[in-house]
């Protein structure tokens, strides 16, 4: 057992009936009056869905906002790549949806490892998000009558997903970006592009600002604020190959963790079952194909391991439609975690297909016969074209090859009901926090959470922290707290440049990804995790000794930027393995081979592990575990079954 701090974490959730908690909380917390808001400066790091929506809203309220993005424009954040949609309990299709049902589905989909109060609030706010985005001009899909259209998504029995073709994330992000740019125009948001946050500044136990590096000039600078909001996304790129954008990283979150913010459930990672398999050693990222394809495609592998015949030469008796065989009730539409693991089982048995034997077939032949090419094209044409462009194979003629890939991270900074981390004044929003998805996120819920946090949660809850500070000046940037942090950041930057070894940053990142995917990916075992920890320790030691970063710190230097990010990934990867090792159960995206039923399904342990594992940084020592006990008053935990 891991050494822990025995004090339970208090999430400060309000009491009362669950449907009244958010209302009660809003009416009882402190407010800052309109005239006083301009006396407060709020720092927002990251301008994706959560960050841009928070920056816009806080500025509209009258706060002075300083927003930071490492991109050249706030419109490039990775939220933009979300395809499928955004859930909301509008019940427009009149099919029995409600706030309570969305809440229930999300808690169950999270495999009973999320906080009920937060999830209920999320379901309540989902309704307002659609109103807000529509008013901003987000071009959601519509019916001929002019009203909004819905479609269904995994893990739900109702149609509650709003969408803008296959570009829902893009359109929602542009809405939030435009709302923020309106405030930039008004002078209420000061936007810093190509500026990367490299540390949080903490003074007297409170977050008082950040230290950044200008990615073009290399200048290291201090920025003071009365509160700091981190909306810097998830850490899937710790696996090197993932569906995340190339620059997505954990640095802001990790540096905050090293300054005292607890990191919750790092081992809860989501693997998406339908991605295009890697084609060679220099594969840089994996491309997701919307899970809607599983509505009409049939997944199969050859019955015989090593069968390298082209798919058309493999007759029906020689094919194994393994999902339909193992899960007759749900078939090809089992949830993401189940579908992913099943694909791994087949590939590990030597039944993988394609030049590298690293995929399974997703076959539309039957759908093409049943529906005709025109209907298939109408439903999936853009996805088929994308697949064709990337692989050079035409899916109308030959089955697609797919394989699971890292996609989303449910873990993140621990936050209380107000979204505040364990450092007073430091908040985490969107994928950067851990709060709403438990051990597995349902499709179309990430956009919902990012916007709920930014538009509707933090603008209220921030007042509770700020109100007592009225009249307090910003900490000046010549304060020793800033000067010392700037010095540490500069030293670290110089250290990467001065190692003078022989290996590129990318080499270390790739090696780390291999270790983590092998031992802390779709399946984990105590033996594998012990090995991974030892391998990561060696790799980190080699990184410190043999890294080569060319160039200087006073220009745009993409290798230097990446060195810091990979350094943080190396440290995070270790913590993920420690967390996965300590959690002696299987739940959601965390599957321990020692904890499965006789037929290979996940086995949860509610008696011993119904808690949030929040880890404290111990500066080179083993991390310290703290717990937040989870209580399920409204959704009673049961074993999930899809047979």
């Amino acid at each position: 057992m891991v050494d822990g701090d025995l004090r339970m974490l208090d999430a400060r959730t309000p009491s009362g009936a669950i449907n009244e908690r958010w209302d009660n909380h809003r009416t009882s917390i402190s407010l800052v009056s309109p005239a006083n808001k301009r006396h407060f400066t709020i720092i927002v790091v990251g301008t994706g869905l959560a960050g841009a929506s928070a920056a816009a809203t806080l500025a509209e309220l009258g706060y002075r906002v300083k927003a930071y993005t490492f991109h050249d424009s706030a419109r490039r954040a990775h939220s933009i790549a979300a395809q499928g949609g955004i859930n909301a309990a509008k019940n427009y299709p009149n099919d029995g949806d409600s706030i309570h049902r969305l809440f229930y589905d999300t808690v169950k989909g999270g495999d009973y490892r999320s906080r009920e109060s937060n999830v209920y609030r999320l379901a309540q706010l989902s309704v307002e998000i659609i109103d807000q985005c529509t008013a901003q001009g987000v071009p959601f899909a519509r019916e001929y009558g002019g009203l909004l259209a819905n479609r269904s998504f995994g893990g739900a029995q109702v149609s509650r997903t709003f969408y803008a073709r296959g570009q829902t994330g893009q359109q929602l992000l542009l809405g939030a970006y435009q709302a923020m740019m309106r405030q930039v125009d008004r002078g209420t948001v000061e936007l810093h592009t190509q500026t990367e946050m490299l540390d949080v500044v903490v003074k007297d136990g409170r977050a008082v600002g950040i230290v950044t590096r200008d990615l073009v000039s290399g200048e290291i600078a201090s920025h003071a604020g009365h509160a700091v909001l981190l909306a810097t996304g998830g850490y899937s790129n710790v696996f090197y190959l993932s569906t995340n954008a190339m620059k997505s990283n954990v640095t802001a979150v990790w540096r905050a963790h090293r300054k005292g913010a607890l990191f919750a459930n790092p081992c809860y990672t989501q693997i998406h079952p339908t991605c295009i398999p890697a084609s060679d050693e220099f594969q840089s990222k994996l491309t997701l194909m919307s899970e809607s394809l599983r509505n009409d495609g049939r997944i199969w592998v050859p019955v015989r391991a090593g069968d390298a015949r082209p798919p058309d030469d493999i007759g029906e008796p020689d094919r194994d439609y393994y999902l339909e065989r193992r899960y007759p009730a749900f078939g090809n539409l089992v949830p993401r975690d189940v579908a992913s693991r099943a694909a791994k089982v087949e590939v590990d048995r030597g039944k993988g297909v394609g030049p590298l034997a690293n995929g399974v077939y997703l076959d539309f032949k039957e759908a093409l016969r049943r529906l005709g090419q025109d209907t298939v094209r109408e439903r999936y044409g853009n996805l088929f074209d994308m697949y064709h462009r990337i692989t050079g194979e035409n899916p109308y003629q030959t089955p697609m090859r797919i394989y699971p890939a890292m996609h989303y991270t449910m873990g993140g900074l621990w936050v209380d009901y107000n979204l505040m981390t364990t450092i007073p004044g430091l908040y985490a929003l969107g994928e950067a926090n851990f709060s709403d998805h438990g051990a597995n996120r349902l499709g179309a819920s990430a956009l919902m959470q990012g916007l709920a946090d930014g538009y509707f949660v933090v603008p209220y809850t921030l007042g509770d922290y700020l109100a007592p500070q009225l009249g307090e000046a910003l900490v000046p940037s010549n304060d020793p707290a800033f000067v010392e942090t700037e010095r540490q950041v500069a030293d670290q930057t110089d250290r990467y440049l001065s190692v003078g070894g022989s290996r590129s940053v990318d080499w270390f990142h790739r090696e780390l990804g291999k270790v983590l995917w092998e031992h802390c990916g779709m399946e984990r075992s105590a033996e594998g995790l012990h090995r991974a920890i030892s391998d990561i320790d060696s790799l980190k030691e080699e990184f410190d000794r043999d890294l080569r970063v060319p160039g200087t710190s006073s220009t745009l230097n993409q290798s230097l930027e990446k060195a810091g990010r990979v350094d943080d990934f190396l440290q995070l990867a270790r913590l993920m393995c420690v967390d996965a090792l300590h959690r002696e159960e299987s739940c959601g995206g965390h599957f321990r081979v020692e904890h499965q039923t006789d037929d290979g399904e996940a086995r949860r342990d509610d008696t011993n592990f119904s808690y949030v594992a929040a880890w404290g940084w111990a500066d080179g020592q083993e991390p310290v575990l703290r717990q937040e006990q989870l209580a399920f008053e409204y959704v009673k935990p049961t074993q999930r079954s899809y047979k």
């Binding site: 001009g137 071009p139 009203l147 570009q167 538009y455 160039g551």
Partner: protein, 253 residues
């Protein structure tokens, strides 16, 4: 495949640039164009040289970060394809490939193949939004939007802000980018209250930064998202009308 690359290298915004030649051996046809550059960079770093700086992020054609002039064509030879989705099977063994940054005065070069597209943000700031403060929105289905309108708005809203339209234009004009946003918002009922102010400010801000449109039409085929020239006609029409409309009467139907 074995390729010869002629790549624009420039140490900083004010520095003088030059073409450098690199041999790229062992390139697999299934690599993406940017993975080919990754490999060239990996070899440069291992050999103690500075890698080629280029912009990229999502690598699925949606973030708009990437953008290279490849053999004189914005985003390279394959139509409707951003640089990141271009694959090496579009090239042949022995090819020489010339790689340049976007060439436009309004996009100053930051380093090598990286340019500063901040001028696009200035245009959005100047009205490329609908003023709907958080919390003030009416029920979403209160205002029906005809499907044809919503679809046309979505067609325009698909712009990824990569800048290929500017790079392809002999005048370095920003019309297609600006028109895409004007059309997206001015077509929708929610965009009507700010319609005239929006188009007026956005067009006039655009003209501070970009060259003039003279109807070459090079932008449309360069666009990885197929944004139509029709949007420019719509923007011009709204801009003209913005100078004639009595906006006080805008509340009357």
């Amino acid at each position: 495949m074995h390729l010869t690359l002629r790549v624009w290298r420039q140490d900083g915004p004010g520095a003088e640039g030059r073409f450098e030649t690199y041999e790229a051996a062992g390139i697999h046809q299934d690599m993406s164009f940017l993975e080919m550059l990754d490999l060239v960079n990996e070899r440069l770093v291992t050999g103690g040289r500075e890698p080629i700086a280029f912009d990229h992020d999502c690598r699925e054609g949606i973030c708009g970060s990437c953008g290279l002039m490849i053999n004189g064509r914005a985003h390279g030879p394959q139509g409707s394809t951003a640089t990141c989705q271009l694959h090496m099977r579009e090239f042949s063994d022995g090819d020489t490939i010339v790689i340049e940054p976007w060439r436009a005065t309004s996009f100053p070069i930051v380093r090598d193949l990286v340019v500063d597209r901040g001028a696009f943000d200035r245009i959005i700031e100047a009205g490329g939004y609908i003023g709907a403060p958080t919390g003030s929105a009416p029920e979403a289905n209160l205002t029906p939007v005809p499907k044809e309108t919503a679809d046309a708005a979505m067609d325009a809203a698909a712009c990824i802000g990569c800048g290929a339209c500017v790079a392809a234009c002999p005048n370095g004009a920003g019309q297609l980018f600006t028109a895409a946003k004007v059309a997206h918002l001015n077509l929708l009922p929610q965009g009507q209250p700010e319609r005239w102010m929006r188009v007026e400010r956005m067009v006039e801000t655009m003209e501070e930064y970009f060259g003039s449109c003279s109807n070459h039409g090079e932008c449309e085929p360069a666009c990885p998202k197929g944004i139509s020239l029709d949007n420019i006609a719509l923007m011009n029409r709204d801009y003209l009308l913005s100078k004639m409309r009595n906006r006080k009467l805008g509340g009357r139907r």
